[in-house]
């Protein structure tokens, strides 16, 4: 009988990513309701030392798949190992992050196991032992609450930066075991040939806790320096609206919105952004939204927690100065 909630931890370059702890925390909450256990699956190379961190957030057990072919994520290797572990371990539920990696492997994993998969969820609950998930559709213009049929395990990916983290408890420890799996090189069709880092190595927008974003009101690429100065002192990543990206002022990887990135920071400061539905689709799950715009009718003010009607070229530098005073 399928038992237990599993989470797939994510690591990059040997460090566990925050989503791993968010998933563990949520799994702990769900497992406590079901009276079941939480197991974290950790794939990587020389990664075993990181397993205890997952225990602090509530994992009862960590299954470590350690192999140099798992050092960096590849679809083929990760899907194969996780599927094998799921087939032998028989969990009731598997949670992954709706990160680039998670979204790439979740569909394939579910198909391999012949089960259902719900992508990019913002809330979970249980009903009669089944996972119930809430997720945005139509770029967040609506939400769908869904559940599973004829699916064991039930698989879902969770949007980063949404699930609440437990307080890490240093006294909690997890049982750490070595995974049993086999990986045939002939199964591994795709290879990472090159890794191209983005210049400026700031936290990616999709994982940023703070974002300062500029739109058409910025009037040109050279003006983004004032946003970068603000971002620097509050440790934020700089984003952009589609308008700014289409004008060639910022790269597409900076775009927040329906055809850009979906972000979920604690603080989103929107400068010179009118607030079109497609932009809101990308940042509506932000905890706090600040809008700075000289047009008092700009739709963004309907969604902002704090709004300043003013000239961003004066307000933003002033804000940078004021924040410096209290830091």
């Amino acid at each position: 009988m399928a038992q237990g909630i599993w989470i797939v931890a994510e690591q990059r370059e040997g460090e566990l990513r925050k989503i791993s702890f968010e998933l563990t925390s949520e799994a702990r909450r769900l497992a406590d309701q079901m009276g079941q256990s939480v197991t974290a699956i950790l794939l990587g190379s020389n990664i075993k030392g990181k397993a205890p961190e997952l225990g602090k957030y509530g994992a009862d057990k960590v299954i470590v798949a350690d192999d140099n072919r798992l050092a960096t994520y590849t679809t083929d290797a990760y899907v194969s190992v996780i599927a094998q572990l799921a087939q032998s371990g028989e969990p009731a539920i598997i949670l992954l992050g709706a990160s680039v990696q998670g979204k790439d492997l979740s569909g394939r994993l579910a198909a391999r196991l012949g089960v259902g998969m719900v992508q990019d969820c913002v809330a979970f609950s249980l009903e009669n032992g089944n996972l119930v998930a809430k997720r945005p559709i139509y770029a967040g213009k609506a939400y769908a609450t869904v559940t599973f049929k004829d699916s064991v395990p039930q698989i879902a990916t969770a949007r980063p930066n949404v699930l609440e983290l437990n307080e890490p408890d240093g006294s909690k420890s997890a049982e750490v075991v070595d995974a049993e799996f086999s990986l045939d090189d002939s199964q591994l069709k795709t290879k990472v040939a090159e890794i191209i880092q983005e210049k400026g190595a700031k936290v990616d927008l999709t994982e940023a806790e703070r974002i300062v974003s500029g739109g058409r009101g910025m009037k040109g690429p050279e003006n983004y320096t004032i946003l970068e100065e603000l971002a620097d002192i509050i440790d934020a990543t700089v984003g952009a609206s589609r308008s700014a990206v289409d004008s060639g002022w910022r790269p597409h990887s900076d775009q927040v919105g329906q055809t850009g990135k979906v972000v979920s920071p604690n603080l989103y400061i929107a400068c010179g952004i009118s607030g079109a539905i497609q932009h809101l689709a990308g940042m509506s799950t932000s905890k706090y939204i600040v809008a700075i715009n000289k047009d008092p009718e700009a739709p963004i003010f309907q969604k902002a927690d704090y709004g300043i009607v003013g000239d961003l070229f004066e307000v933003v530098p002033a804000l940078t100065e004021e924040i410096k005073k209290i830091l």
Binding site: Y138, A142, T145, V192, Y288, G307
Partner: protein, 264 residues
């Protein structure tokens, strides 16, 4: 090269999304249907591959009759033939059901590469491509920003967008890729193209034609069940920060962020 593209229709992004009275679906009256924008990048990339390597581009869609229009648009852009799976049994299919349908069409075709959009701008799941690749037992590379095919058309190098950068991934063909915005700029269908498209073959298939059972698709074959569709929770109205000068407004905002919101 034999190039396949899978496409779907979605509501135009300006559409106001209304929930149907039963609270279980979206109201579809008054919707303007368009080719899913991500699928357009897939169509365009397919046409560029044909221009470079020669061969044929086949467009595959599943859904009601209106999807024919989008297949014709792709044919007008330059694709060679279309296949539509139109059957009442497919209504209510989840991603797995759609992938099963596409797989049933594709297993009888010769192909070197399959292109899909990275996600549908309706349900935003983004997994039909990867499930389809799994069902066909071929590799997939998702969220592709740039695609290079070797001169002998036996391998590809795809630039895949990841957090903080780009990965360049190599794969043998046949393979499936899902297109991300920025892969290319889709062309407009020309008037001569639109005229030619009317004569290009567009086959319509039923579930039975594909050897599929109704229990494998539609609501009966679905593993995911919708319980309800709701509107997003309205954010509570915020406040406009007072101040006579930019400095005053900035100072007040800083105080609010620090003392009230406690996030700085």
């Amino acid at each position: 090269m034999n190039i396949l593209v899978c496409l779907k229709q979605v509501p135009d992004t300006e559409t106001q999304i209304k929930i149907a009275p039963d609270g279980m679906s979206i109201a579809t009256d008054n919707i303007k249907w368009i080719i899913n924008p991500y699928d357009e990048y897939a169509v365009e990339e397919a046409l560029r591959l044909k221009e470079k390597f020669g061969g044929e581009v086949t467009i595959i869609g599943a859904g009601p009759k209106r999807v024919t229009e989008s297949i014709r648009t792709a044919l007008a852009m330059g694709a060679d033939k279309g296949i539509l799976v139109d059957d009442p049994a497919i209504i209510g299919s989840d991603s797995l059901g759609i992938a099963r349908i596409l797989s049933a069409v594709i297993k009888d075709l010769d192909y070197d590469i399959i292109l899909c959009g990275k996600q549908g701008m309706d349900d935003d799941y983004g997994i039909v491509g990867s499930i389809l690749a799994e069902l066909l037992s071929i590799p997939h590379i998702s969220v592709v920003l740039k695609l290079e095919v070797s001169e002998d058309a036996s391998t590809i190098k795809a630039h895949r967008e990841v957090e903080g950068g780009t990965l360049v991934i190599e794969s043998p063909l046949p393979a499936l890729i899902t297109a991300q915005k920025g892969l290319n700029e889709p062309r407009y269908a020309s008037l001569p193209g639109i005229m030619k498209a009317k004569k290009k073959p567009l086959d319509v298939k039923t579930i039975a034609d594909l050897g599929l059972d109704a229990s494998q698709v539609g609501e009966s074959g679905a593993k995911i069940q919708i319980m309800q569709i709701t509107h997003p929770e309205e954010r509570e109205a915020g406040k406009i920060v007072e101040g006579e000068t930019p400095q005053e407004m900035a100072a007040n905002l800083t105080r609010l962020l620090h003392e009230e919101a406690k996030i700085i």
